[in-house]
């Protein structure tokens, strides 16, 4: 089997991740921060070890600025609802995921003004256009770090500078890049950054979080028990407790801590180079497949390990089904929860087939996939693709 769906969730996980989760459940079964007994302290140590590892990976000098959340979507909601008020202006881009766009469209109904800066047809973002939008004043700029459809990298360093210049806070959605592209929140001067644990960070699902720069004031999205200030019925106002009500996913965080150590030892730069090399190799080889359209920039340095494509006369879902059933290749097809990005690329509403490479993929897997696409393109040219499924099977034999 070939797994090319790492942008949905990475697989496999590094050695030790599953064991760390099992060990957490069997050996550190307490509730972190709630009690003083050894099992509670053991759980709290796991959580704080993970927090420290993530802070180091992201260049945050104070681990308490890293808040755990179930996923990047939750973290983005915390940032957006925690910050934006009626009559605030927020600037975003035309390649955002629904985890940004749906909260923003909802906030729009509550009186927040949403400005969407369009992107080029290759998914590229013009910083000057963002600056023009910010010149009219904005509370927040929110962008992805990389498109989950085209793989286009967004120039977050330039955007951070432009946002700062115009007095806007900058929230980065690093769902596709945390762990697979170097991010130094301190050096970049990011105000907020949402990340998920189960993609590039190579941890389990149900983990993620938000980096909140010291000095950025957010209202909690969820209030409740934290284990701290238990005598009071009002929410604590210190990090990280104010944003971590309710018991954390300790077993998941244990797995994430192990995965983070794996990445720190490996070096995120090495992961990025590997994924870019696979993407570049695929783009070069696949360009010769008859009827293929590849989306996004051909420049390796302008993309992450995500590529999107379509085959002439074949719907993305048909191609995806054949890749799975006939070749054992896992890809994601359709709109990838990002209708705006597909409108930008001109692939709405049919969508694309997406390959997303990870650390554990190899060049020979890419070659196998290109050969599979060549075969599918041939079937498509023969008319097999528009026929019922059983005739596709005939064409294969």
């Amino acid at each position: 089997m070939i797994y090319f769906d790492n942008a949905a969730t990475s697989w496999p996980k590094p050695p030790g991740v599953a064991a760390a989760m099992a060990e957490c459940l069997s050996e550190a079964g307490g509730n972190p921060g709630r009690s003083g007994h050894r099992l509670s302290v053991a759980a709290a140590r796991i959580v704080e070890d993970a927090r420290e590892g993530l802070a180091a990976l992201f260049g945050a000098d104070d681990p308490s600025r890293i808040v755990f959340a179930p996923n990047a979507t939750h973290a983005l909601n915390l940032a957006l609802y925690g910050l934006l008020r009626p009559r605030d202006r927020v600037v975003t881009t035309g390649i955002e995921h629904n985890s940004v766009m749906r909260p923003l469209r909802h906030l729009e109904t509550r009186g927040v003004e949403v400005v969407v800066v369009p992107c080029g047809s290759d998914g590229s973002l013009d910083v000057q256009k963002v600056e023009q939008a910010l010149q009219r004043g904005a509370r927040l700029l929110v962008t992805t770090h990389a498109s989950n459809v085209s793989g286009a990298i967004v120039p977050i360093a330039e955007l951070a500078a432009v946002a700062r210049k115009h007095g806007a806070l900058y929230l980065v959605d690093a769902a596709q890049t945390a762990g697979s592209a170097p991010i130094d929140v301190g050096a970049l001067g990011l105000d907020l950054m949402a990340f998920t644990g189960h993609k590039g960070l190579l941890g389990p699902t149900g983990t993620g979080g938000l980096y909140v720069r010291d000095g950025v004031s957010l209202t909690p999205l969820v209030r409740g028990g934290t284990g701290s200030e238990s005598a009071y019925e009002i929410q604590p106002e210190f990090m990280p407790d104010m944003f971590e009500s309710g018991t954390l996913n300790v077993a998941g965080i244990a797995g994430l801590a192990t995965a983070t150590r794996f990445l720190a030892d490996l070096g995120v730069e090495a992961v990025q180079a590997h994924e870019r090399q696979l993407a570049a190799h695929f783009m070069t080889e696949a360009a010769a497949v008859s009827g293929i359209t590849l989306y996004g920039s051909g420049e390796a340095t302008e993309r992450c390990g995500i590529v999107s494509f379509t085959l002439a006369d074949a719907s993305p879902s048909e191609v995806g089904l054949l890749l799975d059933e006939s070749f054992g290749i896992m890809a994601r097809t359709g709109l990838h929860c990002a209708p705006a990005a597909h409108r930008t690329l001109g692939t709405f509403p049919a969508g694309t087939v997406r390959f997303s490479f990870g650390w554990f993929n190899t060049s020979s897997e890419v070659d196998t996939a290109v050969e599979a696409l060549r075969q599918i393109a041939a079937w498509s040219a023969n008319g097999a693709m528009t026929s019922p499924g059983h005739r596709v099977t005939e064409a294969q034999s």
């Binding site: 003083g36 709290a44 704080e48 308490s64 284990g227 200030e229 210190f238 407790d241």
Partner: protein, 83 residues
């Protein structure tokens, strides 16, 4: 160890232990005595004589503390880490 630091949240308690040990100070997490540590489950025992250096180190590492106390428990039996 005759000193005890109380915290607002376990994040800071655990982090304090990590920071102090990393810098060669004796430190041990214990269940917080109710009268000194009403906020979270754990407190940190340390050498009270090192309190100035310890306080400076924690401030430099942005560890937020509730209070620094001289503290002599009746026994050492309640130490969670040696049990």
């Amino acid at each position: 160890m005759d000193g005890l630091i109380s915290f607002f949240a376990s994040h800071h308690a655990i982090r304090a232990e990590t920071v102090l040990k990393r810098h060669g100070h004796a430190a041990r997490l214990v269940p917080g005595p109710r009268e000194l540590s009403p906020n979270c489950g754990v407190a940190l025992r340390f050498e009270y004589a090192e309190r100035d250096a310890v306080a400076a180190l924690l401030t430099a590492n942005r560890v937020r503390i509730d209070g620094v106390h001289s503290y002599q428990p009746r026994t050492d039996d309640w130490n969670v880490r040696s049990a």
